[in-house]
């Protein structure tokens, strides 16, 4: 059945966006979320108020604007190729025009007014919004026109998987973008890595289209896109959480309090070094995004572990070591 196939491909293309929105805390901080009532045991973060949907919509509109600008630039600056040979100058120009996407993201992250959303949720909302706009613009029309026919092709399923990979890509790019432009204090060593990863992410579409002209088969191409986007997402996740070490003072103080709590039960022969303290903070903050509860649980576990009788007085060191 052909409508069935259309439905399947639409679910594959747009489902993950909806799932992402509803699964992550974005929906908890959206204006008309019913869960706020039910979720009685979890206090909403007073800093992230009700603007994620607005942010996503605004990001989508910004993406639409950048798409139009890119179209105009492509039409103005590129020449129609006479033969199918690879022209490096043209490809370079196309890649440069791809950077307009990054400019749009910059605009969405920094210039749009967000009513007090935490950075965490901001980049997710912006990434989701622009990925959704991208899917709608590039994938909805072919789906509507083509997937309803009697003829069966794998094309639309591959397109849906590409849409998923694109979502992951957009989220990672938004994360790195927020790192680059919204966070003022980053560890010095990580800055070049962040910019390099952002550059790779921005040129990923050009790389994909280049591979397509090389003649890669669709399954191979889609697998490459998926794998590369997952890898880049993992790298940007690590970078993002590594940069979260330098975060608000409250977390800093909270971690300090837990540490002192722990250390007060220590044998007083050992004074914690500053390095240990930072390491402890770092380990705490990696798990910061999971839940506030985990910090207490982790502290409790480490406290209990430390109470175990050991010969070594520097039990903290061995625990972290």
């Amino acid at each position: 059945m052909t409508v069935f196939h259309l439905l399947n491909c639409a679910i594959l293309t747009f489902g993950p966006h909806a799932v992402y929105y509803s699964a992550t805390p974005l929906i908890l901080v959206s204006p008309s979320s019913r869960l706020l009532e039910r979720d009685y045991y979890r206090k909403p973060n007073p800093r992230s108020e009700y603007d994620t949907i607005g942010t996503s919509v605004k990001a989508a509109i910004v993406y639409l604007g950048t798409a139009l600008v890119k179209l105009i630039c492509l039409a103005t600056f590129l020449k129609v190729p006479e033969n199918d040979s690879f022209d490096p100058y043209q490809e370079l120009l196309k890649a440069l025009i791809g950077f307009i996407d990054v400019a749009g993201l910059y605009f969405a992250l920094t210039q749009l007014t967000h009513r007090n959303i935490s950075q965490n949720h901001k980049f997710q909302a912006v990434g989701l919004g622009s990925a959704f706009a991208d899917s709608i613009l590039h994938r909805l029309a072919p789906l509507w026109v083509g997937a309803r026919g009697l003829e069966f092709t794998w094309e639309y399923i591959f397109q849906g998987i590409e849409g998923n990979a694109n979502l992951v890509l957009n989220l990672s790019l938004a994360a790195l973008g927020s790192l680059m432009w919204l966070r003022k204090n980053k560890p010095r060593t990580l800055i070049p890595i962040i910019y390099a990863c952002a550059g790779v992410l921005a040129t990923m579409p050009s790389i994909t289209s280049y591979l397509r002209t090389l003649g890669w088969h669709p399954p191979k191409l889609v697998a490459f896109e998926l794998v590369s986007s997952l890898v880049m997402a993992f790298i940007s996740w690590q970078l993002f959480s590594a940069c979260e070490v330098v975060v608000d003072l409250s977390y800093f103080l909270k971690a300090g309090f837990c540490f002192l709590l722990q250390e007060s039960f220590q044998k007083p022969c050992f004074l914690p070094s500053f390095g240990d303290y930072w390491k402890f903070c770092g380990l705490q903050f990696t798990h910061q995004t999971i839940s506030a509860r985990r910090v207490e649980w982790w502290t409790f576990c480490s406290f209990m572990v430390n109470q175990l009788p050991t010969a070594d007085s520097t039990c903290t060191k061995s625990f972290f070591g």
């Binding site: 509803s22 026919g149 009697l150």
Partner: protein, 595 residues
Amino acid sequence: MAGRWRGGGGGGEVVGSIYSVLALVLILVACVELGDAATAVDVYRLIQYDLSGAPYGSRLAGLNHHAGAAPFAPGADLSRTVVILPVRELNLTFLQEYITSKQPLGGLLFLLPQDIRHKSAGGNKSRNVGLLRSILSELEQLLIHVNLPSRYFKFLKIGIACEMIYLCLLIALNNHFCWYLQYPVYFAYEDDKINAVLADVRRGDATGQPATATTGGYKLVVSTPEPRKASSPTITNIQGWLPGLVGDGTTQLPTIAVVASYDTFGAAPALSVGSDSNGSGVVALLEIARLFSRLYSSPKTRGRYNLLFGLTSGGPYNYNGTMKWLRSFDQRLRESIEYAVCLNSVGSWNNELWLHVSKPPENVYIKQVYESFSEVANELGVTVGIKHKKINISNPRVAWEHEQFSRVRVTAVTLSELSVAPELLQSTGGLYDTRHIVDETAIHRSIKLVAESLARHIYGCEGKNIQIFADNSSLAVNPSYVKSWLDLLSRTPRVAPFLSKNDPIISALKKELSDHTDEVHLQHESIDGMFSFYDSTQATLNIYQVASVTFDLLLLLALGSYLILLFSFLVITTRGLDDLINMFRRPPSRKAKAA
């Protein structure tokens, strides 16, 4: 918190309009577009006609079923399958059984080999060629099927009452003698795409089960409107008159007529080009007209005979057109015709032609004509035999064109390569009758034979050793003229009911005759009420590769589980496992909380 949901009452209208928009979207979505198919093939439909009310041929045109290929498991249900049968490997007995037992079928698609379309060079394929020819002619007869014994025809001419009895007889014997096909039948030429589809279908069928909606496969779709009766089909006769030299005195000059019928009839009307029957006759007539027009152009060489060239239509239908043409003559013209030569299939013979006559060969005039022909034949190195077939006035079946002349008392002969009279709707240009079976040199020889014997009779040089249309003279037979006209006729299907009054081929023939003759007339008539035809002869077949419903369901299942996994993964990584579990636990009541 309760205040937040106060706006819900006004939202009822919004919800209603959302539902209507959703319904509209669903309706739009459900309009399935038959978009680009993997393969689109030109197909030609089997003819559909009624003979005195009795239906023949295939009665349906639209097709929308899955493809299947032989061999089938015995007792398989094929009512929703289109069977693809390549003609080369056709098992006629299976087909015949299937048709006569009137089992339901989704449709039939016959694949014709490409060699009958193009001229094949090698003669070493003659055994295959002969086999193919016999298969195709048998298939055609099976599908067209007029198998009524001819004795039933004798009622046709006697009043209406007997015709009613005749019809009742027909209906009563319908199941036994004549059959029609309640499913669409199409012909297509083999090419790579359709061969690939057939191989795929065979491979799929090897697992045992014919393809249906749940197992995927190929779907063949022909979307044409239902066939309608062609209203009052016309037949057009074209005649050209070349007057002779009127000498002193006002005596009416005698006339010699050269006649050929130009229309065809076959199993697939869009493929009935009839190169041999009777394209060769038409080409011969045109060339003879050209040669005589050169002879008659100057008064010094004009003969004392008028020449009448007739291209008649309605040949397959008992030479209906010829009869009407003859009836339109006035008395004087009819009496002035000394004799008529009818040409029928002169394109693929080797050494022997036949002269068919209805008067006994001992008749003076017949003897004269025969002797002039055999004299020239001897010079050309071929033989002309004579065959006598008596006319039965009460039998409406007219096997040769000259019989129509004989019925109005005009001496006529038919020159043909066929030695036996064909049955109704046989040898009228069928599937096999395409350009590749015609030999141009045979046509050249026929032209020379007829032209030479006519000219000798006209100029009175019988017995003298003069060759009028000698080779390498200005009156030689022009091979390129013959070739170009033969090629044109082999590209043009000419089934009379589907030719309109001003069809291009009719205009072309008229123009050509008017170049060679002085006066050209067109006569439009309608076919006798016995035959009625239905349109829709050609269509485009779309072949879609479809996935089965099980595939779609599996895909839906996979997607559902993927989304659920994604959801759980995201919840766990961003909110914690507890949140996931708590989502499915009902929150404890407020009373308990308040307490």
